[in-house]
């Protein structure tokens, strides 16, 4: 692994150089919230943030995306697939949890039957993440095998050491991104400070969560009545799923007008009744209880079976943004304590 350093005050200039080479996404402040968006100048990046409102997954998996367009003309149908003409792109300054989230999306959309739309964008994307110094009170990445300064999924990871960042380079993509940027190699003493900084961030982590044996537990308690009380306050909205860096479920629908139309792919949420409504009118997940349970089971049991990966990186958005503070950490803890033999 190569390590470089960059002074914090030189970050805008560094980004300006990147912008000349490729599209750069970075956290930007809009009203009072932070979102990922393309920037035209390095100064627009807002890096003193905890985490973005919406995870950067929407850059690779847009909430609404046209898969193809069609038009009928004189007995024939003309189908056009939009070409991916985007250039190389960098997502700069994302948090380690969100970088790790892409590892799951990579499996889902890049496995045996790769999704060409996701895959093409993903191949052109470099992830430059930025370790956290002060994890928020809803963060629990450390409990799930990640960490506030974890490198999982990142091509480059920035570690805050005061006035500058140590840049750890984890991939060829990362190496070529830094080529010719005139960055100094990190000296031994700076690497030492970086290691201390990682330790300090981990010490600042709030209360964690014990997930050892959780999957087995969940498989046992599927029918337990505890789900009713655990989900009683759930409003059934889609905040937790739409703000989740690993929730990837989607719907496809046709939007047509007379002879022309398009097929679009849109985010969908297991929390919505329509998600499982069958053509017969029967809904196997007719209440909030079944729908919330599905979310938990999918993330902490089914995905381990299917992808050998958890569907949660502990970013804490669902904890923080839930309108009724239904805290997934509390739910998982309660489930792990259920005595299913009773």
């Amino acid at each position: 692994m190569k390590t470089k350093t960059i002074k914090k005050k030189n970050i805008p200039g560094f980004l300006d150089r990147l912008i000349k080479e490729c599209t750069v996404y970075a956290p930007v402040k809009r009203d009072d919230n932070v979102f990922f968006d393309t920037i035209q100048s390095g100064g627009e990046a807002f890096l003193e943030y905890q985490n973005s409102k919406v995870p950067p997954k929407n850059i690779l998996l847009p909430q609404t995306e046209t898969l193809f367009q069609y038009s009928q003309k004189e007995g024939s149908v003309d189908v056009r697939v939009p070409s991916d003409d985007r250039e190389e792109q960098v997502i700069f300054g994302l948090r380690p949890c969100d970088a790790k989230g892409f590892l799951l999306l990579d499996r889902v959309f890049g496995g045996d039957r790769p999704d060409p739309y996701y895959k093409s964008r993903r191949a052109k994307t470099v992830l430059v993440s930025m370790g956290c110094t002060e994890p928020g009170c809803s963060c629990f990445c450390l409990s799930l095998g990640g960490g506030p300064v974890s490198a999982d999924g990142s091509d480059i990871l920035l570690i805050d050491i005061g006035d500058e960042y140590v840049m750890q380079v984890y991939s060829d993509k990362g190496t070529s991104l830094l080529e010719g940027k005139g960055l100094d190699d990190a000296e031994e003493d700076k690497l030492k400070i970086a290691a201390e900084s990682v330790k300090k961030a981990e010490d600042h982590m709030g209360p964690g969560l014990e997930i050892g044996g959780l999957k087995e537990r969940l498989d046992e308690v599927f029918d337990d009545p505890v789900w009713v009380s655990l989900t009683e306050k759930c409003l059934g909205c889609g905040v937790c799923t739409y703000l989740c860096p690993t929730c990837y479920c989607f719907d496809m629908c046709d939007e047509s007008f007379v002879a022309d139309g398009k097929r679009i792919r849109v985010w969908d949420s297991c929390q919505f009744p329509l998600f499982t409504l069958q053509a017969s009118g029967f809904n196997p997940r007719s209440t909030v209880k079944e729908r919330y349970r599905q979310r938990i089971m999918h993330k902490f049991s089914y995905l381990l079976d299917d992808q050998d990966m958890l569907g949660c990186v502990g970013c804490g958005r669902c904890v923080k943004e839930c309108p009724v503070n239904l805290d997934i950490r509390q739910v998982l803890t309660a489930l792990s304590k259920v005595d299913s033999r009773e």
């Binding site: 943030y49 905890q50 609404t64 002060e134 009744p273």
Partner: protein, 317 residues
């Protein structure tokens, strides 16, 4: 601990012990600072979970519709306004409900405090001399409670419960004054400017429907957005779809919205949902002299007609 907490606990305990109700819906301490969370208590021994503080921001009336058995609900002024409408719309029966009315001094907008703190980690929160003291890892900030109330709470015209069976503490002065000045100023803007504003706001929407689900009066068994045949509305986040969703929702709430602000608080993105709803509140008040949720007797204007109803919208060719 807030002075009203003990009284709420005592009332809840008594109601459950005497089996007057099977369930008390109130608030308990949330899992994060600056956050309380809805709580369902069925056992008198659990009544001590209940709390009252500056962060009881949810409208609990959203939970009472179509429940079996009798339920007690801890209700602020706005929650009781929603209950009034729900009773009038036959969603709940007054007899099944024990309302534990709590005079409310407004709830503190935790998101704004977090913004002030640049979303830095919070380690401790306490109240001192009427101020909220928020401690971070290496910082301490003091916030004037009144200045950091939700906008809907600052405007609130009904801080005291409209209807109740038990009153906790004593009534507070209802200081809010909603003369809809902001809406009037908005109405005066040129059409293009209003369109630009709404386009910008609706464009933020991610269609999570938190606004709809947090709203006590948005209770349709099947919302128009959840219909698949026919599909009334597209599923994209294109402005034509997000805009339609918010417009339809606002119209469904015309004359029914109780201005509690639950929709805006639930929205994770900060869409200005209230602009549409408040415009309709203002219209309903001006046209029919009706303010939703303030009286059990008064008939809702869209459920009836009068021969002298305003007919300004009609014209002869």
């Amino acid at each position: 601990m807030h002075v009203l907490t003990n009284e709420i606990r005592r009332i809840a305990r008594d109601l459950l012990k005497s089996k007057e109700v099977d369930l008390v819906i109130g608030f308990e301490q949330g899992t994060m600072h600056l956050r309380s969370t809805p709580c369902f208590v069925r056992d008198a021994a659990d009544a001590d979970r209940l709390v009252w503080d500056d962060f009881c921001q949810n409208n609990l009336a959203a939970y009472v519709a179509k429940r079996e058995g009798s339920t007690a609900i801890v209700a602020k002024g706005c929650d009781t306004r929603a209950l009034v409408e729900l009773i009038k719309e036959n969603r709940i029966s007054r007899e099944q409900l024990v309302i534990i009315g709590v005079p409310c001094e407004g709830m503190v907008d935790s998101a704004r405090i977090e913004t002030e703190l640049d979303h830095g980690a919070i380690r401790e929160v306490f109240k001192e001399n009427g101020e909220l003291v928020v401690k971070g890892i290496n910082s301490e900030r003091r916030f004037n409670r009144e200045a950091f109330l939700y906008e809907s709470c600052k405007r609130c015209r009904q801080r005291n419960p409209v209807i109740y069976d038990k009153l906790v503490g004593s009534e507070v002065k209802t200081s809010g004054d909603d003369s809809f000045q902001d809406i009037e100023a908005f109405e005066d803007l040129p059409t293009e400017e209003r369109w630009t504003y709404f386009s910008k706001e609706m464009d933020k929407c991610i269609r999570c429907y938190a606004c709809r689900n947090a709203c006590p009066l948005c209770y349709c068994q099947e919302c128009f957005v959840d219909f698949s045949s026919p599909q009334w509305i597209g599923k994209s986040v294109d402005l034509s779809d997000t805009g339609l969703f918010h417009l339809m929702r606002a119209f469904h709430l015309a004359g029914r919205c109780v201005e509690c602000g639950a929709c805006e608080r639930a929205c994770p993105i900060g869409v200005d949902i209230g602009k549409l709803n408040r415009k309709l509140c203002k219209d309903v008040q001006e046209l029919f002299g009706y303010q939703a949720g303030t009286s059990l007797e008064e008939v809702a204007p869209l459920s009836t007609y009068r021969l002298d109803d305003p007919e300004n919208f009609m014209f002869e060719l």
